[in-house]
């Protein structure tokens, strides 16, 4: 009988799994990952069965795909194949917004270390770095970094990252409104210039070579992202591009979700650390958003009012949700001002920015 061996922790974690699935289905909360993660938590907490254990099916998937880092990197390849970097190429200055929003990551790092003053917390610098990356608002990056720096926190970090990404439409607008004036929010931006096919094809190489030259520790992430993007843009490997955008990313998402779910065990998840991680995650998103908007305001000044500071909020990534939030808040100020395309630049810049930040944390705190 399973129920006779059921511990309180397992029961609670099955409840957590159920809640994640409920929110994924009923509230459309990042369902592609939270449904498999939640179900993985359910399966792995079934007493006696040991599905998430070393010899269990999900445990084996974890070893093959997550410990090696292969699954998040394959997802990043798919993200590259699915992402249109045109808006960024047309207006490269939006990269600065993507850079500023990474402040959320590094501020959270300090927050995590500061939390050690509270009794019961004992985060190492590696732990703090893995937690901080939640502020990057990028699921595969967070899972990749956590699998490298703090595997025992991986479950909580992944859940926090995807939960807050789903909460972007609630977390961001008040911050955006608080930091900008009505007038700033109403700024209409100049239309983006068209981008040639050659520019699109050169883009992945420029990004990769800069990364190879300056920050090799980010090369796995940036490398797979740019590889996927090259498959998309080069125009001669349509079959492979479709495979990266569909088959591979779908199959890996199912496996990755189940594997991450197997880390939602009571002894690792129902801890004070998890509460700290949830707290810090909210902090990270808020600070990242604020930093992005403030950089937007600076660019607004410098350009003589050509930049709408709202688009800075999209720099946290969370593609494409953050860009849609920008669009929505912009429409509140002026019903004819569509900022979506303008926010896509900082939005995809945020993906590169957080991969860069992950590379920095890996290089400076990794063993």
């Amino acid at each position: 009988m399973g129920i006779a061996n059921l511990t309180w922790g397992q029961a609670l974690m099955m409840g957590v799994g159920g809640v994640l699935i409920y929110l994924a289905i009923a509230k459309k909360f990042e369902p592609l990952l939270l449904v498999p993660i939640g179900f993985g938590a359910l399966l792995s907490n079934i007493p006696v069965a040991g599905i998430g254990g070393h010899d269990g099916m999900i445990g084996q998937i974890y070893i093959v795909g997550v410990e090696t880092g292969v699954f998040p990197l394959l997802i990043f390849m798919g993200v590259g194949a699915l992402t249109d970097f045109g808006a960024l190429i047309a207006r490269p200055s939006t990269l600065l917004l993507g850079a500023a929003a990474q402040f959320g990551i590094f501020a959270t790092l300090i927050g995590a270390v500061a939390l050690n003053f509270v009794p019961g917390f004992d985060f190492s610098l590696q732990d703090a770095s893995a937690i901080a990356i939640i502020g990057g608002a990028d699921g595969p990056t967070a899972i990749f970094l956590a699998s490298r720096l703090a595997p025992e926190l991986l479950g909580a970090i992944a859940v926090a990252a995807y939960s807050y990404m789903a909460l972007v439409p609630i977390i961001q607008p008040p911050i955006m409104r608080a930091l900008t004036t009505e007038q700033e929010r109403a700024v209409v931006m100049q239309q983006l210039r068209p981008v040639s096919r050659l520019e699109r094809m050169l883009f992945p190489f420029v990004v990769l070579l800069l990364c190879a030259a300056l920050l090799p520790s980010a090369a796995p992430l940036i490398g797979m992202l740019t590889f996927g993007n090259l498959l998309r843009e080069c125009g001669v490997v349509e079959r492979l591009s479709r495979a990266a955008q569909n088959e591979i990313i779908n199959i890996v998402t199912i496996m990755l979700g189940l594997a991450v779910g197997s880390k939602l065990s009571a002894d690792k998840f129902l801890t004070l650390e998890t509460l700290g991680i949830l707290l810090l995650g909210a902090l990270a998103f808020s600070i990242g958003t604020a930093a992005g908007v403030i950089m937007g305001k600076i660019m607004h000044r410098v350009t003589g009012g050509k930049v709408n500071p709202l688009i800075g909020a999209a720099g946290v990534s969370a593609v494409p949700m953050a860009a849609r939030v920008v669009n929505r808040v912009g429409l509140e100020a002026d019903h004819h001002n569509f900022l979506l395309m303008h926010a896509m630049g900082p939005n995809v810049a945020g993906v590169i920015g957080s991969a860069v930040a992950a590379g920095i944390l890996l290089a400076l705190t990794g063993t």
């Binding site: 009923a26 509230k27 129902l270 509460l275």
Partner: protein
């Protein structure tokens, strides 16, 4: 071993029947429950309404996890 296998048959068919009969009861309960909440929580419509009204409910995940942690720590 024949005895063992006879016993396996007895216990096995008993568990199979017990399991599936319990499942009959649970599925009846589930359908009763679904019929009751269906008018309240029409999933399709709530999902459609998300962009504007789903905000408050989404913070639930944090609240639920916090409660679960508290519960668990209280027992250890």
């Amino acid at each position: 071993m024949i005895g063992e296998s006879l016993w396996l048959m007895l216990i096995g068919m008993s568990i199979v029947f017990a399991f599936l009969m319990l499942l009959v009861v649970l599925l009846r309960g589930m359908s009763w429950f679904a019929a009751r909440v269906a008018p309240v929580e029409r999933l399709d419509s709530s999902a459609a309404a998300l962009p504007s009204g789903g905000a408050v409910a989404q913070t639930d995940v944090i609240a639920v996890i916090t409660a679960a942690v508290a519960h668990y720590r209280a027992r250890h």
